[in-house]
Symmetry: C2
Subunit: 341 residues, 2 copies
DNA sequence: ACCATTTCGGAAATCGATTTCCTATATGTC
DNA sequence: GACATATAGGAAATCGATTTCCGAAATGGT
């Protein structure tokens, strides 16, 4: 139904090729002809068919955001990630296609490559390291530019954008040490692989630097499947001979709930116990006391991922893009001087 | 580079048409031939070119989410909206393309239609009513199925999904009236048009039902450009001869900030003053006291919008889809009995 | 056994652009 | 003025599928 290039050609008494050359600013079209074509095209509101153009050009000017994790579990991050990502893409005349139901569907990713419906792929929250590397290999075999998010991939050929979680946890731990804490608990979350390793490493590193011995009793693993676990582990900490005077939580919601547990048990924060979260979600600003946390610039990560992917697309087979973004320590009221020091 | 249908045909010693019929489950292919084709296609990992298929079929199996509002201003809503939307689309073998930079770019929307890169459009946060209706007319002229979000469009031919804000504000106001409040302030936000009208209407309606006179002095307009305005209007309320004993805010962040102002001035919530927000963002659960608010099911709205759009797409020219979703009153600690009653 | 239908599969048209190739004219050089 | 080169524009090939059309073989009815 809409106008085709053929209609436009007929209207102007020219051939399809001339129209195409004029519209795409190619040589061998006289200045006047080109102007005439452009004017008429604009008047009639002609717009080339995306499908026809994609077929002929063998590219779509679309990038895919493939979420290989239950999407409702990461929607808060997506909210920060997507706007910048889409904006950067659109500045380069690309659009973002969302692939939301991609948990464990490697076959689907493969068919995405083969059908060539996107020119490049951002893979968000890929599964374990080994699967990530395998997936990267698969995509490379399919000649599909791609980049991973939001975890580093310790492999020289793989592109990724991540935040510096070693540094984040280190900053938090150093902050607590500076406040006089020496018994610092850490609640980790092994199910997120490298990120967990990194934060744990940052924690251990800061302790090491301060000459504080690492005590395994102070490190527990959270379990997102079992909510009551949080309460039990909190109480277990308090029941230790030498309970921690400060606790780092892998993520803000854990810390926020711990704050309620503490209050429920009459433990004052930060006078009796310092608590800190991680990620800097909005809610951390309105708890009482407000939560000390580490903020990663998710928005910047989205922009950088899109920009890097576009580079990979245009520079066919360029060197991998590997970026680790700095994080910011946000000190608020939930951490204070160690009163037992 | 990837396999084409021609390669597959050669491989099997068949013609393109036969392959196509087999893969698309059309008649006039013998059972064995079809089986053979399917098996080989699967073995070789053949996947039809999306561009070629789109061109021939004259549809893309993509729907567009066009955000006609600065995207970073609505990213929290997008976070709830997108997952369900994308999931519903994908269940019907559609994907979601995001168009993030569409503020005031009617021309761009038109070219989107003409280039046929999507089969339907969800328009989020369209501008004023008149522009919305004009836009709808434009899209209809272009034969582009479309639906608006998240505000109702009082026009019989236009499809939309919205939440029942009249009811939301009415529930909140009734709740406060039931607590004995009769001086109830309302901070509205005129820049969001119908939504503001609706909530104001719900507020006025509840007052009317309770026989409480509407006092214009109790209704102020917030201004998202001027942050200090909030504080001034809060103080202005307190300076009235008969200050309000409860205040409804157009949106949660306004209420949360008002909570800080109140504390800063030694006004106790809810003993001296009840406060309520609107939207039910996460932070409202962790303030102290937690905020009474109204929750709209944004996720459900996304799903419904996608499902409705798919209906419009498949039922070419069916009746418009108009949905108003119910909202929930969430009563928490920030509202209490009127102590001055 | 003969004619009318189906069934199967291939040849060719089609979707709407871009790109290559070609021809006719204009321009430039000596 | 003859010849090489550049320019303008058109004809046709191409991208990779789907769909229509057609002929040959198989099937069925009498």
């Amino acid at each position: 139904m809409p106008l085709t290039i053929e209609d436009l050609a007929k209207e102007l008494g020219l051939s399809r090729s001339t129209i195409s050359k004029a519209l795409n600013d190619r040589p061998y079209v006289s200045h006047e002809t080109k102007a005439r074509v452009l004017r008429t095209a604009h008047e009639l509101g002609y717009q080339p068919s995306a499908a026809a153009r994609n077929l002929r050009r063998q590219r779509t000017n679309k990038i895919g955001l493939v979420v290989t994790y239950p999407i409702h579990r990461v929607s808060d991050f997506l909210a920060e990630l997507i706007p910048g990502m889409a904006t950067v893409a659109e500045e380069a005349e690309y659009n973002l296609i969302l692939y939301a139901s991609m948990v464990g569907r490697v076959e689907r990713i493969k068919s995405l490559c083969r059908s060539r419906e996107v020119d490049g792929i951002i893979i968000a929250w890929p599964p374990s390291l080994s699967e990530t590397v395998a997936l990267s290999q698969l995509l490379a075999d399919e000649d599909m530019p791609h980049i991973f998010l939001p975890r580093r991939v310790p492999h020289e050929a793989v592109s990724y954008v991540a935040a510096d979680h070693v540094q984040g946890a280190r900053l938090l731990t150093q902050h607590l040490i500076a406040l006089g804490h020496r018994r610092i608990g850490f609640e980790r979350l092994p199910e997120v692989y490298e990120t967990d390793d990194d934060r744990h490493e940052g924690y251990a590193q800061a302790l090491r630097e301060a000459g504080i011995p690492y005590d395994p009793a102070l490190v527990v693993s959270a379990n997102s499947q079992d909510a009551d676990y949080e309460r039990r582990s909190f109480d277990a900490f308090q029941a230790l001979d030498e309970p921690p005077t400060a606790i780092l939580f892998f993520t803000d919601p854990l810390a926020i709930r711990a704050l309620s547990h503490a209050k429920a048990r009459g433990i004052r924060v930060p006078q009796d116990l310092s608590l800190a979260g991680y990620d800097g979600i909005l809610s951390t600003g309105v708890t009482e006391p407000a939560l000390t946390t580490v903020r990663q610039s998710t928005a910047e990560m989205g922009e950088l991922a899109a920009a890097s992917l576009l580079k990979l697309i245009s520079a066919g087979g360029a060197e991998p893009q590997q970026h680790i973004l700095p994080v910011d320590l946000i000190v608020r009221g939930s951490t204070g001087l160690n009163s037992r020091a």
